[in-house]
Symmetry: C2
Subunit: 420 residues, 2 copies
């Protein structure tokens, strides 16, 4: 498949964004978001296809509207996310809730057209009691996943998501008791990179079809890997589609059941479409046997993934002005603005407790920082307001090359607003 290049800002755009909107800030690229949405929309299915966006990756209203415009539907991981999509002016019927817990409000949403995927036996009871006779789905834990620890497992005995495969007959019995019709099976396969393995696990899920006579739709979740760092390979969506289509055709041939397909990527749609732009405020040394640290205004208050998971993001500095040059490349550690030892943008890969100096052109105070591959789980999942730092703004770089503010920068009053 023709791969979509990761978005990067030009040096001039970095300077212009900070000059106009301050530092730090998030920038998403409209062209990249649209290209990725189109790639997902073209995944297709032999018996019908619905592409969804996993809202939690980037729930910004501007991003939601853009994806709706490209024909994507939505998967909400909480009742709140579903309400958020609707508050953005998008149709309730384009939203499905697949949540760990179903809090108050789910029934009203369902009556407005939101689809519910039950993720536990109790959720079947909740939905059955509130909405008898409804058409719903079930999320299945098929007993195996692609992860290797609790941070990456979304299926298997160590994962809390979905209904354990040994309990599916009971699930169908509860549904029957409440006259719920289980119309779709949902299995988020997980963030592996191998399309063949993805298809093998998808096949396991589809093995449970016999339990659910009313199911004519299958949602295989997301789990498409993105290559954040150079050398990382991205999931080949076209190959995954081929595997999935073959599987669905095989099922149709064997059982006569023609299944409508859904997928719901999050990272794949947005991760490589965004960057964080910040400022290098200081460069400090801990001596000849120590390190050189760049202190920036981007940290766990803006991006939690390195501190929490040892996630790797591309980073580079940009000279504050075109006439000023960066220093020679040298091993640098980049830390955030928080008074917290774990506020480190350059941990070792997968090991947030270890330092991994990165060879980068040395900045001076006032030079700018670009953190790449920051369009998913960055603005959405950060230690917001830690150290009382106001939340940074989110910008969309439009296809016309203009910055459109999707969310404005908080001021201190915003941080304090809910205090009594």
């Amino acid at each position: 498949m023709s791969s979509i290049p990761p978005f990067d800002v030009t040096d001039a755009q970095v300077r212009a964004a900070v000059a106009a909107f301050g530092s730090p800030l998030y920038v998403y690229d409209e062209a990249t978001l649209r290209a990725r949405a189109r790639a997902v929309a073209s995944f297709g299915g032999p018996f019908g296809f619905t592409p969804r966006f996993a809202v939690k990756a980037n729930p910004s209203r501007g991003v939601l509207r853009l994806f709706h415009d490209e024909g994507l539907h939505f998967d909400a991981s909480t009742v709140f996310e579903a309400q958020r999509v609707i508050a953005a002016g998008l149709p309730a019927a384009s939203v499905q809730i697949t949540a760990q817990i179903l809090v108050d409000g789910f029934a009203d949403l369902a009556r407005d057209g939101v689809r519910l995927t039950a993720c536990s036996l109790r959720q079947l009871e909740q939905i059955g009691a509130a909405l008898p006779g409804t058409e719903i789905g079930v999320r299945i834990n098929p007993g195996e996943g692609t992860g290797h620890n609790n941070r990456t497992n979304v299926a298997g005995p160590d994962a809390s998501f979905g209904i354990w495969h040994e309990h599916l007959a009971e699930a169908q019995a509860i549904a029957s008791r409440h006259r719920l019709r289980i119309r779709w099976l949902h299995h988020h396969v997980g963030s592996g990179g191998d399309p063949h393995k993805w298809a093998v696990i998808a096949a396991v899920t589809l093995g449970f079809l016999a339990i659910f006579p009313d199911a004519d739709r299958v949602n295989l979740g997301g789990g498409f890997k993105v290559g954040r760092m150079p050398g990382e390979t991205e999931s080949d969506l076209e190959q995954a589609a081929c595997e999935a289509h073959a599987l669905l055709r095989e099922i149709a041939a064997d059982s006569g059941r023609e299944l409508h397909l859904e997928i719901e990527p999050g990272s794949w749609l947005t991760a490589l479409a965004g960057v964080i732009v910040g400022t290098a405020h200081d460069v400090v040394s801990t001596g000849s046997d120590g390190h050189t640290f760049v202190r920036s205004d981007v940290g766990l208050s803006e991006i939690l993934r390195p501190s929490m998971y040892g996630a790797q993001h591309p980073m580079r500095f940009v000279a504050a002005t075109p006439s000023r040059a960066l220093g020679e490349p040298e091993p640098l550690l980049i830390v955030g603005p928080c008074c917290e030892s774990g506020d480190l943008l350059t941990p070792a890969d997968g090991d947030p407790e270890a330092l991994a100096p990165r060879r980068l052109a040395r900045p001076r105070a006032g030079d700018l920082l670009v953190v790449g591959a920051a369009g998913a789980y960055c603005a959405a999942m950060a230690a917001r307001n830690y150290n009382s730092i106001p939340v940074a703004p989110e910008l969309l770089l439009s296809e016309r090359g203009e910055f459109v503010e999707l969310r404005r920068r908080q001021c201190l009053d915003d941080v304090l607003r809910d205090e009594c």
Copy 2:
């Protein structure tokens, strides 16, 4: 020293709080906060003493005012925290800024009476340029700390905090050039539990006194351990005070310099004064070789420490009504509401990637959850609004036994407020 027992809510209070304010929520205990503030205030010093609260641990206005009332001053880790203390109506002169980066606004704060501790050579230049002639402090990295990885190191070659000890003469030279008078040395010794080791490292810092002829004050930071889990020992503040006093008397005898002492605990003042109350929404099983998971509405959106650091917090369930009993104790894993594998309240100690089932009385859906030792770095440092979950309210349990709302619960409109 007579230890102050950790705050715990009664079952009746848990039920009453949720009935009145919903779930989840934070509760802080006025009596415990005051008792701890008094213990810190009585630390004392042979030549004067100023106790400070490290604001970042719990910057709630109600907590700040209560500590002011008990005579505590404040250490702000950002310009924003200093502004927040002042916005709470508290005196600028009670605030000191000790920050990784000095953003716009620091000079105005200093002119209003806020004290500045320079944490790098560049900060000395910044302060010198904006406020020549000012009296300031310097934060020192003395070359050794108490931590064993980047998560716990606040000093030593792997830490970015403060001015490296080999650069202190240069620091004094920059100060002299700008006619800055360096009146205090600051060294946050770190969160070790051994008062003797604390004093030994403090002595290293004080060895640098000779470089700073104007210094007549020393701030030894926080670094007093709290015992969150049963069996963990808490720092003995009285013993630490004895060690510090002896050290200061020794310095006075040797050099004639009588140093005013400051300390600035964060966790020690608030961690054991707060709990999070939530609800068990579901109990799901992954089969006979798997686990039993309790899905709660408390997770990394409310408390990040377990997911980020593998931090251990005491937890228990409370039956929804007095007439209903919890089940027998069994090994349980507790997960949060987020669609995120790492949203786990029961990781292994220090290892957020491993599951550590905990033997607890089994709840049913609707029973309540109490997460203890949650008064520090919980409401302050959480993945706020992840999965679009509104921020939970903070309550103070007054000495009269009443719940006072310090921060109200967000609604979805609050989550969306800053969108354009």
